[in-house]
Subunit: 83 residues, 2 copies
């Protein structure tokens, strides 16, 4: 399909984007400017995307959301710990 | 479909999650802990999801990604301005 590449680019970019934030948060332990509610809602939301991917038997959804869930959960854990 | 609610919950949660971060960033102008690269990659990625929604003629994708794009772009603009 013509625009299929856009879906792959979208999935790759939004998945990989949480990596620099996770690295920065792990390194600096600086979390004050980060919204707790963002990461609570986002992490639960990504768990739902993961579950929906299982319902649809969609491996790209399952894999990309598993990675994003892990990264978002790390950031959330640091936020909960360091405030 | 059985798991359809999970897709709607996922879309609603991941879209709405950027609202508390945008509000916090606008209010405090505190952006040091936020990763510039996260928001560069994420904003471009969401623009791709938006474009892919147009390709697929999917209104839920178009609407939710338009909202997320706006919120992520606001956070990115504050990060670029306040460092």
């Amino acid at each position: 399909m013509t625009g299929e590449w856009m879906g792959y680019a979208a999935a790759a970019l939004t998945t990989v984007s949480f990596l620099p934030q996770a690295v920065r948060t792990i390194r600096t332990r600086e979390t004050h400017a980060i919204s707790l509610w963002m990461y609570v809602l986002f992490t639960v939301g990504i768990a739902c995307w993961f579950g929906y991917g299982i319902v649809l038997h969609s491996w790209p959804m399952i894999v990309s959301n598993a990675i994003t869930f892990l990264l978002a959960a790390i950031i959330l854990a640091f936020k909960l710990r360091h405030g």
